[in-house]
Each structure stands twice: as structure tokens, then as C-alpha cells.
Amino acid sequence: MTATSSKVTRVIGYSALAFTALALLFGLVISGPEVNMRDSVRLLYVHVPSILTAYLCFGITLVGSVIYLRNRSTFWDLVAGSAAEVGTLYLAFALITGAVWGKPTWGTYWEWDPRLTSTAVMFIMYLGYLALRRMELPHEVRSRRAAVLGVVNIINVIVVHYSVQWWRGLHQGRTFGLDPQIRDMQYFSWFLGTVALGLIAAWLIIHRFRVGWLERQLDEIHLEEALVERRGEGV
């Protein structure tokens, strides 16, 4: 492997572009405003999918970390790391869109809503995970610590989620499925947004993974050079 793109990622990339265009068209033009939320409902077409995708990414990080701890393969370490990076990005996006959506809906950018609060804490936890992955450590050591953190983070997320929920009392409930005001074209726009953001995430993860993989290959080449140089010392 010498490049980060391949036939598969090109297909994913173009589909992502196509679905993004469709999502924009349906989300901004074709579908109408919602009764209560008015036009701000359109933010939910990207806000909710980005949260869902972030959760999916962190799920992949968990799986990658568990498998890494079992077989210590570079592959799964990189999978875990790439997914966490993209997941954190999506979570940041979700927090921002959530705040922008909150201003017209709740009247404030930030509400001490349990889901919002625990999401913010979770975001910081994954920033910590990424910070640990950036540390100057031997690969095996860093990967192992990151894998431990990748697993423990999920436990944290669950604990934080429930404790914050108990703290703020019961949440108003999910916006979709329970809210009869959103239907038809709005649902379809949301669906398109989900597909587009999902594809973009897949594209990003694969490319991030390949960059990581190439970095490792580069390390191998550097190591070969360093070995030759080292063996030449003092002979």
C-alpha cells in the first residue's frame, strides 16, 4: 500500500458527495419547516446523525481495543485510533450544532440538560484518549495503554451518562420517534443526512487508518536505515 485512496474509498467518497448534495437539497429546500422548531429543525438532520455516528465510532474503538489486547495487532490498534479521532470530530460537530439549535429552541446555547452535559464530558474523555495516543512512547506501550483506555472509556461513558441523568431528572425524551411533528420529508432528509455523514465518517476512518498504516511502514523503513547505520558503528 502506497496511497491512502483505493477503488473502495473512491466509491465511498463519491457516494458521500452525492448523498451530501441530496441531503442539502432535501434538508434545506424540499422539506418544510417544523411547526414548533420552525427552520431550526433542519439542524437536527445533521445533529442527530453525527451523534449516532460518533457513538458508532466509539463502538469501533472499543472493539478495536479489545481485539488489540487479545492479539496485539497493529491493524486493530490503528482501527481503534482512527475511529476515535473521527468519532471525536463528529462529537464536536454534534455539540456545536446542538448549541446552535438550542439557542432558538431553549433560548440558550447551553442547557444543563443531562444528555448535553454527559456528551460534553464524553467529548473531553475522548480528547484525553487522543492525547494519550499522541504521546512519545514506544508503539507497543502506547498502543497497550490506549487500548486499556479505549475499553475503560466506554465504562466511563456509561457511568457518566446514568449519573448525570439521575442528577437532572428524566429527559424530555428523544426527538425522533416520539415527536409526531416530524414526518415525511423531514424524516427523509434526516435519513439522507445520516447516510451522508455515515459515508463521510467511513471515508475519513479508512483514510486515517491508511495514513497511520503508512506511518508505521515509514517507521519500518527508518528502522532498517537506523539498523544499518547502527551496525556500522565502531567496525
Binding site: 514506544p138 517507521d219 527508518h222 528502522l223 539498523l227 547502527r230 551496525r231 556500522g232 558503528e233 565502531g234
Partner: protein
């Protein structure tokens, strides 16, 4: 008992058996394809310029430096296996620039802690303290208040209490006075009589070679020349091959 130690089991596996070992410190190959075999009861002296990889070799044998490539067996245990490496660590003893002591505790407290941690016989502490001249005044002194030589002696005391099978000594004579050096040499001789194998990295060539049964010259993370002190030198064949 002492005589038993002298008898060598001819068919016993080597204590150190390394082939093509690569060990990285960060991204730097401190050991770059090293081959070395050391048999039971040998006293091997490692020589070579600074940065030749002597310390890393000792740390590798202690199960502390990573084995990134190649095959390494220490005391017939696989360095690459997590569980076996843990057993290697327990049976190896290391004296290094780092003295493995808690500055904040006294000599006696340090010895008690490390002896208990290593499941050593608590009775063994007293005679060791006496033998290392740490018995009377120094035992209640905090380690931070010791001189370099005294610190090394305290570190040595811990090692003696542990009774390791493989002694890994990094510049054991450095920072010691004449009596201290003599004492180290006595200890090494004593340890070998009781069945230990010793690997010494030393610049004190004369002293070390007096002790040694074998001298290994290192450079660039590999073995350059392997000399049997009791016999003739044999230059490693594979040296030119690379």
C-alpha cells in the same frame, strides 16, 4: 555445598541465549541484531565504547528492555512471552546507575521493603548490611543522604538479598573505593560458587578481566569480538557476512 557449585551440568541449557536480537529505545536500535550465548557459571565482561549497547543488553537480560526482533531465551525462559518474562525478571538481579532505592526512606527501611517485596528471607538482611558496611551508622540514614558509593552498596545489598540466578552488573566498580571494589569482586566470586552466572559491563578493564572467564567486545549494538579469557580469541564469523 561450595564444591557442588563448581560442578557444571554439561547438558544444561545456556543461561543467556540471544540470536538476532533487536531492541529499540524509542526509535533507536540500541541492540541491532545481537548474538550471544552465555553458559551456566560464566563470568562475562562486556566492553565497548559509550553507546555500544551494553546497558541495554543487561536490561534485556533482566526482562526490562523490549525484545523487538530475534529470539531471546534467558535461563531457558522465552523473553518474548509475557508470562515467562515475568519469571525472568524475578530471577535476574540488576545493579545499575539507577539504584532502585527510595530516597525518602532509610537504608534499613529500603532493605526491608525490597527484601519483603522479593520474598527474600528477612534473616538475610542483617548479615548483608554488616558485610556491606552499612550496618552501624548508615542503616538509619535516609538514602538521599548517602554518597554515590554508599548508595551503590545499598543497592548491592538489595541484590544480594534477592539471591538472583543471573547477576547483571552495570559498571559495578564505578564510584566505589578500593575496599568497595574488592568487595564487589568477592561477591561475584561468591555468587558464582553458589551457582550464579554473571554479566558485567565495565570500563575498569584490568579489574573486570581478572574476574572474567570471558570478554565480549561490543560496538554498534552487536558483539564484535568474543574472547575466552582462559583461551584464545575467536572473531565471530558472521561479522563480515553483514
Amino acid at each position: 555445598m561450595v564444591e557442588d557449585g563448581f560442578r557444571k551440568k554439561a547438558d544444561a541449557a545456556p543461561i543467556v541465549e540471544l540470536s538476532g536480537v533487536i531492541s529499540l529505545i524509542g526509535r533507536f536500535p540500541a541492540l541491532a541484531g545481537l548474538d550471544l550465548t552465555i553458559n551456566d557459571g560464566e563470568i562475562v565482561v562486556l566492553r565497548g565504547p559509550n553507546g555500544a549497547g551494553k546497558t541495554t543488553l543487561l536490561r534485556l537480560c533482566a526482562g526490562l528492555a523490549p525484545l523487538n526482533d530475534g529470539v531471546g531465551r534467558i535461563m531457558d525462559l522465552d523473553l518474548g512471552d509475557r508470562v515467562q518474562r515475568r519469571r525472568i525478571r524475578r530471577q535476574a538481579g540488576m545493579l545499575s546507575q539507577q539504584t532502585f532505592l527510595y530516597d525518602e526512606l532509610t537504608v534499613e527501611e529500603n532493605l526491608q521493603f525490597w527484601a519483603t517485596a522479593n520474598r527474600a528471607d528477612p534473616e538475610a538482611i542483617e548479615p548483608v548490611l554488616d558485610r556491606l558496611d552499612l550496618g552501624r551508622r548508615l542503616r538509619t540514614v535516609k538514602v538521599s543522604g548517602l554518597s554515590t558509593g554508599q548508595r551503590r552498596r545499598a543497592s548491592l545489598a538489595v541484590m544480594v538479598c534477592r539471591r538472583p540466578k543471573l547477576w547483571l552488573l552495570d559498571e559495578p566498580h564505578a564510584g566505589l573505593d578500593r575496599a568497595g571494589r574488592d568487595f564487589v569482586d568477592d561477591l561475584v566470586g561468591h555468587a558464582v560458587r553458589f551457582g550464579a552466572t554473571v554479566l558485567i559491563a565495565s570500563h575498569d578493564v584490568e579489574r573486570a578481566e581478572e574476574l572474567a572467564t570471558r570478554t565480549v567486545q561490543m560496538a554498534g549494538g552487536r558483539v564484535l569480538v568474543d574472547t575466552n579469557t582462559r583461551g584464545e580469541s575467536d572473531r565471530q564469523e558472521d561479522l563480515d557476512a553483514s
